[in-house]
Amino acid sequence: MIRLDDVTKTYSEGNVALRRANADIAKGEFVFLVGPSGSGKSTMLRLMNKSEEPDSGRIFVAGKDIGELSNWKVPMLRRNIGSIFQDYKLLPNKTVAENVSFALEVIGRPRAVIKTQVPQILDLVGIGDKADKQPHQLSGGEQQRVSIARAFVNRPLILLADEPTGNLDPQTAIGIMRLLDRINKTGTTVVMATHDAKIVDTMQRRVIQLDTGNIVRDEREASYG
């Protein structure tokens, strides 16, 4: 589903964020990206949805070289890739339901579709009763559920998660991981960057470990390190 082919990314200050990285992630896989801050985890995720361009190497998503994608086709790529973040990136002046329906509105879904899909997805992520609340009225875990609902409402092929449990207490984090696991079981490929050793150890999934831009380990059913 996602293939990195000798990918290098250097930022303007000369920091190498990713050096000659190779990885092949199959459809339906659940992959953890682990490593210390600045090791290149986020860069790798950002390269996958063309938020960043590699300096060299090629990145394939669903069989297509996204480096050859013209700019106007990037939105179409992103519609197949859901993204969630440590800081949720919810819009503070919109309700929970509006935050989710916004994602459907901007890709031009008809209103009837939005009306049925939004309550469905909110129920799925377990916050069906919070539809009319503002994000600031929710706990961190609930806010992350809203952002997962927004990312998944369009049923993307891929879900990219950048430290989604980074701001959550362990108990809440487990809830979020259960949800991501469920989403993964529907066939969605999940790539998650994390620092959380306990989660990685418990889940026993594929682990790609990064250190200062180098992939130092790529192991199936593995632990944090």
């Binding site: 949805n49 700019n71 106007w72 939105p75 179409m76 790529l77 992103r78 519609r79 993204s83 990136k89 819009l91 916004f102 994602a103 509105e105 901007v106 890709i107 031009g108 008809p110 209103r111 927004r150 990312a151 369009n154």
Partner: protein
């Protein structure tokens, strides 16, 4: 992929209301600069009316008698053409004269109605080789006694001075208006950029979930368009107001040529349309560019 109308209306509406100080700043900027542009256009129109017949260095006009024969007209034409002291001359036929007449008396159609093109005299507009008063005077005299000529009229010193002054004034006002228009465009650009900056998170999320650039851009452009139109509307109102003030002023009743600067709704109409179009364009284009900065970041 179509953008839903209700989405657009909602987005544009809330954005205009959410940041009132920025909206007002943008509207006023457009209003002031377009009002200046409008005044300069009105002023130009007025000046061209006053000095319509005296453009392009025409120093005197040879009026033919309405009953002058074709031979007489041809002979005057020949004499003008052969005269080395005449740089240029042009014949104004009955239709052209009538058109000018009708325009000149546009405010009083009852006069226009009583006149037929056939009753009007034709004329030659003459550009002499030099413009010194004595030279032009003696040159003009040569044609005064010609058969078929009824009168030779000279551009008075007054008209000449008026032309010089108003020409200068028009350039001045045009420059000011152009500077104001550029300022409006930049201010609009900055205003919207601030608005986009305040909503960069929203733009980020839109891009993240796969909104196309145009989908993000269009609500901002509509916002700018509405602001530009409101600003232009204020400018048009100001123009009508000032026009009315001039018309009702003491000077207008005492000085006839001031009346040339009072435009009729028929003349103000096209200028108003131009201003509204300019306002809409400044708003929409300025906004479009302002958003683009954030789209590709």
């Amino acid at each position: 992929m179509a953008i839903r109308f209700d989405y657009l209306a909602k987005e544009t509406g809330t954005n205009l209301v959410r940041n009132p100080s920025l909206t007002i700043a943008a509207v006023l900027t457009v209003a002031v600069s377009l009002a200046l542009l409008g005044f300069s256009l009105v002023f130009r129109e007025g000046v061209s009316r006053v000095s319509e017949r005296w453009s392009d260095d025409v120093e005197f006009i040879v009026w033919m008698r309405p009953d002058a024969t074709d031979d007489q007209i041809a002979s005057v034409d020949q004499k003008l053409a052969d005269n080395p002291l005449v740089t240029d001359h042009s014949y104004v036929n009955r239709e052209a004269t009538f058109a000018e007449f009708r325009e000149y008396y546009a405010d009083t159609p009852e006069i226009v109605e009583t006149v037929e093109p056939a009753q009007l005299p034709t004329s030659y507009r003459v550009v002499p080789a030099a413009s010194e008063l004595a030279f032009v005077d003696s040159l003009g005299q040569e044609y005064e006694g010609q058969p078929g000529v009824s009168d030779v009229v000279f551009a008075g010193e007054f008209i000449k001075q008026l032309n010089a002054i108003t020409g200068l004034a028009i350039s001045g006002v045009t420059v000011v208006a152009a500077v104001a228009a550029v300022a409006a465009l930049l201010l609009m650009y900055n205003t919207i950029r601030t608005a986009v900056f305040a909503r960069r998170r929203e733009v980020e999320v839109m891009k993240l979930v796969g909104a196309t650039n145009w989908f993000v851009r269009i609500p901002f452009m509509l916002e700018g368009l509405v602001q530009g139109l409101i600003g232009a509307g204020l400018a048009v109102l100001a123009m009508f107001g000032v026009n009315r003030m001039i018309r009702d002023s003491q000077a207008a009743s005492e000085l006839d040529f001031i009346n040339s600067f009072v435009l009729q709704p028929a003349d103000l109409g096209p200028i108003s349309l131009w201003l509204l179009a300019a306002g809409a364009a400044i708003g929409a284009i300025g906004s479009g560019f302002a958003v683009t900065r954030y789209l590709d970041a």
